[in-house]
C-alpha cells in the first residue's frame, strides 16, 4: 500500500498532464492550471527546506568547532543580517527591492561585487588553461586548437580587420558543425527525458520513492 498509492498518484498525474497538453479544454486545462500553481507553491517551500538545511549544517560546524567554522559564523551572520534588512526595507519602503532600501544597499555593495569577483577569476584560469590545453598533440587536438583560434579571432574586430575570412569562418563553425553537434546532443537529451518520464509514469523507475 505504501508503494502502490504513490505509484498510482504518479501514474494518474503524469497521464493527466500528458492528456491536458493535447486537450487544453475543460476540464483538463483548468485542472492543469491548478496543478501548476500548486507546483509553484511547493517549489517555494523547497527554498525553506534549503534555508533550514543551510542553518543546521553550519550551526553543527560551529558547535563542533570543525575546520573553517569561522566561515560558517560569517555565513549565518550574513544570512540573518540580510533577512533583517529585508524586513526593514519591507516596512520602510513597501518592498526590500526599493532602490533606497537597506537590502538593495547590501545587494549592490556586497552580493554583486562578491559574485562578480568570483566569476571574474575565471578569466585568469581560462587563459592559463587554454595555454596548457590547446596543444597540437594529435590531429583531433589540432582541429580543436585551430577552431578555437578562428572563433576567438572571428569574434573580435581585429580579426575582421586582418581578414574577412575570420568572421565568416567563425559564423560557419557556429552555424554548421557546432550546431549539428549541439542539435544531436539536444535530441539525445530529449529522447532520454521522454524515456525517463515514461519510466516514472509507468512505475518502472521508482528510485524517487526511496
Amino acid at each position: 500500500m505504501r508503494r502502490a498509492v504513490p505509484l498510482a498518484i504518479t501514474f494518474l498525474t503524469g497521464l493527466f498532464l500528458v492528456v491536458s497538453f493535447f486537450i487544453p479544454h475543460r476540464p483538463f486545462g483548468e485542472l492543469e492550471q491548478r496543478l501548476l500553481v500548486w507546483f509553484a507553491i511547493v517549489a517555494g517551500f523547497t527554498m525553506l527546506l534549503g534555508v533550514d538545511n543551510l542553518i543546521r549544517s553550519h550551526a553543527r560546524k560551529i558547535t563542533r568547532t570543525s575546520e573553517g567554522w569561522g566561515h560558517s559564523v560569517v555565513l549565518l551572520v550574513g544570512l540573518v543580517a540580510t533577512v533583517v534588512v529585508g524586513v526593514i526595507g519591507r516596512v520602510q519602503f513597501g518592498s526590500p527591492f526599493h532602490l533606497q532600501s537597506p537590502f538593495m544597499f547590501i545587494y549592490s555593495y556586497t552580493i554583486v561585487p562578491l559574485q562578480a569577483t568570483m566569476f571574474a577569476l575565471l578569466a585568469f584560469f581560462i587563459a592559463s588553461a587554454s595555454y596548457r590545453a590547446f596543444r597540437a598533440r594529435n590531429w583531433v587536438a589540432t582541429l580543436l586548437l585551430v577552431s578555437a583560434v578562428i572563433v576567438m579571432l572571428g569574434r573580435i574586430p581585429i580579426g575582421a580587420a586582418m581578414s574577412e575570412f575570420f568572421p565568416w569562418m567563425q559564423e560557419w563553425i557556429m552555424t554548421v558543425p557546432q550546431l549539428a553537434a549541439k542539435r544531436g546532443i539536444q535530441i539525445g537529451a530529449a529522447l532520454g527525458a521522454v524515456s525517463m518520464s515514461l519510466r516514472i509514469i509507468l512505475g518502472i523507475e521508482r528510485s524517487y520513492l526511496s
Binding site: A40, V42, Y107, R132
Partner: protein, 283 residues
C-alpha cells in the same frame, strides 16, 4: 652546489608560470578599460534579428523582459538589457519585467528604473516589475493561460489588476514579444514551453558561452534574434546608436583574446621545439 639546469627559451615557452599569465592578462584587460578606448562594432545577422523584433513593436505593444541571470553575467548582459529597454521606451512600448533567477532580478529592476527615468516613463503605466516566482517551468506554462494565477501582484505587492499596464494582460496572447536575458538553461524552457506550446514571439540575449546553445532555436526560426555576449551587446548598441558599456568593454575582450591566442601559439611552438627532448629517456 646544487644548480638547476638552465632551460632553453622554448622550454620556458612550453611551461610559462601561470602567475605570469595572470599578471599579463590583468594588465592587458585593465588598460583598455581604464583608457576607455573603442569604436563601434558592426552588427551581425542574429543581433539584427533581435533588434528588428523589438523595432517591429508599435507604441502600446507589450514587451515582456525576463531576467534570468545574476551578477556573474552582468558585464555581458546588463549592457544589452539597457539597450533593449532604451529601444522599447523610445518607442513607447509597455515593458513587463519578471525573472527566474531570484538573486539576479534586482539587477534587472535597477536597469529598468534607470532607463525608465531617462524616458520619463511611469511605473504601473509604462512599465512594471512582476518580480520572482519559484518553479519556472510551472510559471511559464501557467502564464500561457492566465498570468494572474501566478503573478497576482507586482514586486511591491500591488495587484496587477489595479495597474493600468497589466489591467488587461492575461496570457502570452497579450504579449507581443518576449526578450529573455539568459546565462543558463532557462532559455531552453522558454522555447519549449512559451514558444513551442503557445507560439510566443521571442528573442534572447545570452552570455557568450550560452550562445551556442541558442543557435539551434535561431536556425529553426523559433527565436527571432540572438544577442550573444559582450560583442552582441556592443553590436546592439551600434544598432540603437547609443554606445555604452558593451562598446567600451570590447577592446578589453579583444586584447584578452589576442593575448590568449598569443600564449597558445607560444605554447605550441615551445611544445613543438622541445618535443624531441621530452621523448628522450632520462639519462
Amino acid at each position: 652546489m646544487d644548480e638547476r639546469p638552465r632551460r632553453s627559451f622554448w622550454e620556458i615557452m612550453n611551461d610559462i608560470d601561470r602567475r605570469i599569465i595572470f599578471v599579463i592578462l590583468f594588465v592587458v584587460v585593465a588598460i583598455p578599460l581604464v583608457l576607455k578606448v573603442g569604436g563601434t562594432i558592426p552588427p551581425t545577422a542574429p543581433v539584427e534579428g533581435a533588434h528588428e523584433a523589438v523595432e517591429s513593436l508599435e507604441a502600446g505593444d507589450y514587451l515582456m523582459v525576463s531576467i534570468d541571470f545574476d551578477a556573474t553575467s552582468a558585464p555581458e548582459l546588463m549592457p544589452m538589457l539597457r539597450s533593449v529597454l532604451r529601444q522599447a521606451f523610445a518607442k513607447d512600448v509597455k515593458v513587463i519585467m519578471l525573472g527566474h533567477i531570484a538573486i539576479g532580478l534586482p539587477l534587472g529592476h535597477m536597469a529598468l528604473e534607470q532607463v525608465a527615468a531617462e524616458y520619463d516613463a511611469e511605473y504601473g503605466v509604462d512599465y512594471v516589475d512582476l518580480g520572482y516566482r519559484p518553479g519556472y517551468i510551472a510559471v511559464m506554462i501557467a502564464m500561457g493561460r492566465e498570468i494572474e494565477d501566478i503573478f497576482r501582484t507586482d514586486y511591491q505587492g500591488t495587484s496587477i489588476r489595479e495597474m493600468p499596464i497589466t489591467a488587461d494582460v492575461h496570457s502570452y496572447a497579450d504579449i507581443d514579444l518576449l526578450f529573455g536575458f539568459e546565462h543558463g538553461a532557462v532559455i531552453d524552457y522558454w522555447v519549449r514551453y512559451a514558444q513551442a506550446r503557445f507560439d510566443q514571439r521571442m528573442a534572447f540575449g545570452t552570455t557568450a558561452v550560452m550562445a551556442p546553445d541558442a543557435y539551434p532555436y535561431l536556425q529553426s526560426g523559433q527565436i527571432e534574434g540572438l544577442v550573444g555576449g559582450l560583442k552582441g551587446a556592443a553590436e546592439y548598441e551600434t544598432l540603437i546608436g547609443q554606445p555604452g558599456l558593451g562598446t567600451r568593454g570590447m577592446p578589453a575582450q579583444e586584447w584578452g583574446h589576442l593575448l590568449v591566442i598569443g600564449f597558445i601559439v607560444l605554447g605550441n611552438l615551445g611544445y613543438f621545439f622541445t618535443r624531441g627532448k621530452q621523448r628522450k629517456p632520462a639519462a
